[in-house]
Symmetry: C2
Subunit: 345 residues, 2 copies
């Protein structure tokens, strides 16, 4: 599925040149060259004026000729969100394989879920002259990238869309996948279903909660606030949320877990309890089929997300794309036992 | 444990300067500057002469002053071996945390287990002016890094030592860990124990095989060739190796798996068989404790490996280290059931 965005103008406009900078700053070309190359012989005042023109125009020294002459390899950057989440392993690897097929190096970095770090890293990769960026965003405002995009850096967001700019994005159908997973639990007799997800400002978390609400509404089940918990995915927080939903006179009889980090903790919580509780998790994970019971999941194709994003990046670089699009990949329900357990009461 | 290497000379020598290049090439400083900065006004012949001097001296433009002035961040590179192996998740994250504590950005890349790719990536990161490199090596000849190290790039190898150069390395005690794990199986009555490991040219695989042989020799058990299989860790190869060792008149009664990629496939093979077979795996992995039976492992501290390597890197950059060392971190046997099963016959 592709949902072409509306912005009509071509984002891959011509780069500003050193001459443009010179004109704007009211100085000679040689002066701009000195500032850009960090050479002496420029007064601080002139340097400031040139730098202001560089910033205003989004000028970046075009090194491609030099890169070729010195035998450097083309490269693309991948900004990850969390190095320790196994979901990103196959995604990264797929991006790498596409990069390699195009003769380009892949350089990664991780935002460690920090929007400031994401910005710092993305701009640092641009300063190191990557040809394009694949970004799993931590933040929700990507206007900081506009000068880079204008200057010709190809950009594709993956797993989550960009915020406040119009950019290519490749995402899974979080809404539809969660709706299907929750409907599956309802079909097996559950009505009190708990949803534990990632922080609500994360696009995928919000979409999956929306899918949960839609499935419950479709079945005419009023949702109680106590059944929904969004927040950090560290084991302590998830453990506490699950314990609360399992206590009281009307405990939940099933869980929908918003991602693989949540699912593995819920599996752990349920393994310590005598009465079976049903579980469907978003994201597949290694060994899910060998647990007792096997864990029913809504699987995303992480490798396909990475592959599609990287392919779009190279299409941008080849100049064959006209306008940003959002590509939505389908999810797949895999039944293994935990999602087919009936309500315990 | 630290095993100081023998090379007496300080590897963090002074960097060659632009003046050294000018002297060697027999040209003026301005000409060198033009070549280095890719500016016009140099004849092809002169450029070749300057480039030859740059290559001979291992000159790299020292950008630190410029970096500070332009607000760029210090950065270190991490060359991974396999993006999809979960063992490297916590290792990478620990390197990143140390880098961040030093105000530096971490840039990753993966060799995808290809020595040529490792070299290309490491040199590309140097060309993009990282201050240092942490390398999980895929290859066994790192002489290509010597000019970079001479030019002042800090270098630490992790998980596996460098080949053919003397460099800092931080590794786990693969030999001791495997010996302990196999001795544990022998203590539970096993004599026919299969070893399935990674390719024999990989340092950790060879060391773990050596630990297996040592434990068997200590117990006076002659090892049969059919009990040892080293090769790629893809599921098909591991599955075939395990099936062969489990067939015939004298099947193995226990496995020692050489790393987590091997272990998860052996777990899968054993889950399909009626008779219990014991298993100890090198590397801990997520959910190992929730399988039936829980998987006994020789655990490495992946985060500690990454942390120690990154700390040594910054110590090199601070100039407080005199000579390369190999740091060996201990492993830990975690018993969970699979390694305590008695022989089935």
């Amino acid at each position: 599925m592709a949902d072409p965005a509306r912005r009509p103008d071509n984002r891959y406009g011509s780069r500003p040149t050193m001459k443009d900078v010179a004109t704007r700053a009211g100085v000679g070309l040689k002066t701009v060259s000195r500032v850009v190359n960090g050479e002496p012989g420029v007064t601080p005042d002139t340097e400031r004026r040139v730098q202001a023109a560089i910033d205003a125009l989004g000028f970046r020294r075009n090194d491609s000729a030099r890169v070729l002459r010195k035998g450097r390899t083309a490269s693309i950057g991948l900004v990850l969100e969390d190095l320790a989440d196994p979901f990103y392993g196959p995604l990264s690897r797929a991006v790498e394989e596409v990069a390699r097929a195009h003769g380009a190096l892949l350089i990664n970095g991780s935002s460690a879920e920090d929007p400031d770090r994401e910005q710092e890293l993305a701009l640092a990769l641009c300063a190191r002259r990557v040809d394009g960026l694949v970004i799993i965003p931590a933040g929700d405002d990507h206007r900081y990238l506009e000068p880079e995009i204008k200057a010709g850096v190809a950009t594709v967001f993956v797993d989550r869309p960009a915020g406040k700019i119009d950019a290519d994005a490749v995402v899974s159908d979080s809404f539809g996948g969660a709706r299907d997973g929750v409907a599956h639990l309802i079909a097996h007799g559950h009505r009190r279903i708990g949803f534990i997800g990632d922080r609500p400002n994360i696009h995928t978390a919000a979409e999956r909660l929306r899918g949960y609400r839609a499935a419950m509404a479709d079945a005419g089940i009023p949702v109680q606030d106590a059944w929904m918990s969004l927040g950090a995915t560290d084991p302590e927080r998830v453990r506490r949320a699950a314990a609360e939903m399992l206590s009281g006179p009307e405990p939940v009889t099933a869980f929908f877990a918003g991602n693989n980090r949540v699912t593995v903790t819920v599996v752990r919580v349920l393994s310590e309890r005598p009465r079976p509780v049903a579980l469907v998790g978003f994201d597949d994970f290694e060994l899910a089929d060998l647990l007792q019971p096997g864990v029913t999941v809504v699987a995303q194709d992480a490798a396909q997300l990475g592959r599609t994003a990287a392919q779009r990046l190279f299409q941008q670089l080849d100049g064959v794309l006209a306008a940003p699009e959002r590509t939505v990949l389908p999810t797949r329900l895999i039944t293994r036992g935990s999602g087919e357990l009936p309500p315990a009461d």
